[in-house]
Subunit: 331 residues, 2 copies
């Protein structure tokens, strides 16, 4: 029920996802069942090619709706029958393997943390966002779940980013960069300077401090960059800046070469913002994918694929093992 285009966009995304996923996979649409059923029927009537997938869809009733303006903790306590709480609880109960929402991000983070719980050794979850670069896309972590992070929390983000990059992105030895304002170890704010020292001793491929300029290059001094570690304030500012500066710059270039912006944009597969469609909430013991409120059906389809892949990859089990091993070493 969440997001700007609910329930149309999530249902359209689900139908498209089923067409791409192996036939044994199934999707539960969670929300006000009468509304969801009417929309599903309308979409199936309009798109005959999806009719064959009808048997792989169930509707689960969730009468409460968390509004985009609801406070996360209030929503969590007061709206136990919302699609957010019902859906996450189904994962905890083993009825579903992953959860995707374009609804209230704060509520999704809070509910995922409370219901899934964090892996041992973590104090906070983090949002991982993929951004395009001149090389392979990089994971920015944290992209907005946490502000005012400690050095230890930045190191936690590095650890969970490392597991995600190996399991979901297929990077064999992920290059972990710590976002700062200079490459030297003594550059940065106090949390970053302390995190730098901790990361140098960690069992990670820590490539050192990186600067804002290294992100679009996808590398720092020749070392490939896979994970950018930063607090959620910086990560969120950067991510939203990127989302906005790309169309601005494309528009300026299109105008200067005398082309229509839409024409130029269509040719830019590398910058397709729907390619990932969602950002995983990492560090929780479950799969919770956060999508933009304005997500298109294609973005939501890709977010659902991400949830399936995260579940099938065994990422969470590996994250638990890796963090337990680290905690054991530290003790």
């Amino acid at each position: 029920m969440g997001g700007d285009h609910a329930p149309q966009a999530p249902i359209a995304g689900a139908l498209r996802a089923l067409a791409e996923l192996p036939p044994q996979h199934h999707i539960d649409l969670i929300g006000r069942s009468a509304v969801v059923r009417a929309e599903l029927d309308a979409q199936l009537a309009a798109h005959a090619e999806f009719a064959e997938h009808r048997s792989r869809i169930s509707i689960v009733d969730a009468p409460d709706v968390i509004e985009m303006t609801d406070k996360p903790t209030v929503a969590l306590r007061g709206k136990q029958q919302s699609s957010m709480v019902v859906g996450l609880r189904r994962c905890v109960d083993g009825l579903d393997e992953g959860f995707v929402s374009a609804g209230n991000t704060g509520a999704q983070m809070a509910a995922s943390t409370v219901l899934f719980k964090l892996h041992a050794g973590l104090t906070r979850p983090a949002i991982g966002a993929m951004v395009p670069t001149a090389q392979q896309p990089v994971l920015i972590l944290d992209a907005g779940a946490n502000v005012d992070c400690s050095a230890e929390e930045l190191v936690q983000f590095a650890r969970i980013g490392d597991v995600y990059a190996r399991h979901l992105l297929g990077r064999t030895l992920p290059g972990i960069g710590l976002l700062s304002i200079g490459e030297e170890a003594e550059k940065g704010n106090s949390a970053v300077k302390e995190a730098h020292q901790l990361l140098r001793k960690a069992d990670l491929n820590f490539i050192g401090n990186i600067e804002g300029r290294d992100i679009p290059n996808g590398a720092c001094d020749g070392s490939p960059l896979d994970v950018v570690v930063c607090d959620g304030f910086v990560g969120n500012v950067l991510l939203k800046f990127y989302e906005s500066v790309a169309p601005f710059l494309i528009g300026v270039v299109a105008k200067s070469v005398g082309l229509d912006t839409a024409t130029v944009t269509r040719g830019l597969k590398q910058l397709d913002v729907d390619e990932y469609g969602g950002a995983p909430l990492l560090g929780v013991r479950g799969v919770s994918i956060i999508s933009h409120g304005s997500s298109s059906p294609r973005a939501l389809k890709n977010a659902i694929r991400m949830a399936f892949t995260a579940s099938e990859s065994g990422m969470n089990e590996e994250m638990g093992r890796r963090l337990a091993a680290t905690n054991g070493n530290a003790a």
Copy 2:
């Protein structure tokens, strides 16, 4: 003597600046005099059109050289005869009205703060950097002088940014935005949340929290944006990201439309990074313009123009008056 292309680029920039500035203006080239004189003579011999400006140039000997790797405070104490210290001291002594350097930024900040001193009511200076947007360029403040800023310091940046925008950019009622991760007053890290409350009560055109996405738009919810207030960690990351993401995106677009990147870039006057050529260090009682180490002669010419304009505009006198009035009100 500072920067990657010294003394060639600064001297070439100075000659170009003299050609544009009113004839009563004069430039002092400060550095190892034999080296500077040889380079100046060579450039004058090669470019006959600059010969008429020779009488408006003096060479001031400064035998010490601050290296890019020198620690700022060590350089300041140990290299009293460097072009940095000699040049700033000439401003203090009334022999020059402004100082421009492409040398060691940390040393320039430290030396400018110690020698010029701060305006009353300020605890730190801030670097103001101009960035292009879909509307008018905006000033990002602080772009890297300070990390770990307090709420009060963010408010100081807003005050000095307001004066700069009025006096140097000609904005009549500058729109001041506080960079955060959501528009609501309760969004942000702890310093930003507190600064938001202070700015609402300040005698400024505070347009509220802005997000990363609002910067390329040059506006937030219809309010024109002139000054972006943030700590120097976020500002520096964002600025370096912008400097790098622009050529990356232009390259991607150029390739997709089958044009050469250099051809496309030449047409983009709006994104010309040399247009400002330098970033003013604001809050000090004097004019100190910080240029990139890699600055071109054209960038340095524009940085020198900025120094002249800053001096002639009476910006510093006005900043002192405005801050004194604020301090008086607060007392």
